[in-house]
Symmetry: C2
Subunit: 114 residues, 2 copies
Amino acid sequence: MGKQITEMLKGTLEGIVLAILAIRPAYGYEITAQLRERGLSDIAEGTIYALLVRLEKRGSVAAEKVPSEKGPPRKVYSLTDAGHDQLDEFWSTWNFLVERIEQLNDRSERGEHR
Amino acid sequence: MGKQITEMLKGTLEGIVLAILAIRPAYGYEITAQLRERGLSDIAEGTIYALLVRLEKRGSVAAEKVPSEKGPPRKVYSLTDAGHDQLDEFWSTWNFLVERIEQLNDRSERGEHR
DNA sequence: ACCAGTACTCAGTAACACTAGATACTGCGG
DNA sequence: CCGCAGTATCTAGTGTTACTGAGTACTGGT
């Protein structure tokens, strides 16, 4: 899949993570694992951590340190109210974009010439 | 719509322009106008020109200078074979991403907890 | 002569994901 | 006991991409 998906994830990965946290709170390592399960296997470890720090600074998520039986303590993140708002906004922007692009797909596939 | 759409366009705008050129050849100013018509009104003029230069360097599009009755000569771009291939790849990557994200939308809307 | 519309170009900036490491804690096999 | 795999997080530096804001150039109308 390569580089194309990387660029496409800019702006959407943040929404993806917010959506995952909306299902239930999770920590970075776990989120990465979930993304891999969901087929987004090319996402780098470090990316998620950087993203979570950004979201926390912005107040979209709150972190709670929870000791782990294996390894260092986990930082479990959950959505704040602001985070839910941001997620709603993400969905509306995403749906908007999908509509416009789907339109283009139809037109070019049918070879339309306005 | 603001900043969110800007980030989301990274990686997709290129595909959008390729798709527009697949319908029929066009020049920069025209492409910008078409994007505005299609509701993508926040896209800056300069962005499209920079993108077209990038695509031309990569060999995805070919330019032909055509004199205009009003204003400087137009650079009319059309897809090369490589451009068509890139567009196909764009669609498959895009569809892949849409599937994964749509999945997430279902789950979080229904409040599922796996 | 001036301005609006057409059409393109360019230097500098910001945001985001990736790379490639480092750090730290647990439990298991040699 | 030591090293290694698995768990878990963090960081500095890099590349790609879109935006900002300015400039150039040509036409037609007032």
